[in-house]
Symmetry: C2
Subunit: 169 residues, 2 copies
């Protein structure tokens, strides 16, 4: 890839996490702070998060919605559940904005030397019930955060060619 | 805000752009490259872009969809139209992923000393027709890129408190 900023160029999503790594409270706060300052339509900030740190009570409440779907994520140092405020519009820019917010969180993780893998393979209704997340809010994404398991490498990163991304002009 | 990485902390969206600033072709390529390497569900990369640079032919084709809605954007050095591949699912992670991709583009703009203001206040069907963008692709966002007009300052940046963003736990 061309010389884009290292925080974007070096980011990759591990498939397996180091289950011995411990994330600090300061790091968690910085991840959320980064998400907080993302841009959004009309500055509505239609995002909200639940953060479980491995072995804490919140992580334990997140766990049942993950087990059987995405067991690999249970090794991560933290799991962040992302919810958006469904605006009922078409398209729903709140969903787009949650994506922006989580992207900012991911960039901040890279700045902290941490890695993130987002996943939607969890039981969303179960996760919502565990934290009384009610409409118009919907939990839709999780982000596993930590260090890659030993031996994990950013192999096979590939994207469509730039020419395909600008094919209409 | 806490000490998040400067590329995120210093980012802000001007309401007016410097109509004399000229963006380089290299800068445009880096913006697209950053968008290209964003993460997406199953690595589907459900995003595509049209980039008009002020005074070029593509900008002229974008212009009618903007005039009357968002005239301020016509002063920007470039306008990038973002489209996503509607997956027809609920929720549609493709929309979320376009948000991530545009967020990466915005972070790269900050790395280049450029500013971005995203806007959805344009005639989406008209923009789609101008470039033959057909279903399942939908144009849904534009990003004005350039330098702030003289006198523009990042005043009044505000976000919900962090406690509100994690209220469920």
């Amino acid at each position: 890839m061309a010389d884009i900023t290292p925080l974007l160029a070096d980011r990759w999503s591990p498939h397996a996490f180091d289950k011995t790594h411990v994330i600090s409270e300061d790091q968690v706060q910085l991840l959320l702070e980064a998400a907080r300052w993302a841009p959004s339509a009309m500055n509505r900030q239609p995002w909200s998060f639940v953060v479980g740190v491995r072995d804490d009570d919140v992580f334990a409440r997140l766990r049942p919605a993950i087990e059987g779907f995405s067991d690999w994520a249970l090794d991560a140092s933290a799991i962040i559940l992302g919810a958006y405020q469904n605006a009922g519009s078409e398209p729903d820019y709140a969903l787009y904005d949650l994506g922006q917010s989580m992207a900012h969180l991911t960039v901040q993780a890279e700045a902290l030397g941490l890695h993130v893998r987002q996943f939607a393979t969890f039981d969303r209704p179960m996760a919502g019930r565990a934290f009384n997340i009610a409409a118009p809010w919907e939990p839709i994404i999780m982000a596993a955060v930590g260090l890659p398991a030993p031996g994990q490498k950013p192999e096979g990163r590939a994207r469509k060619p730039l020419s395909e991304l600008t094919a209409w002009q």
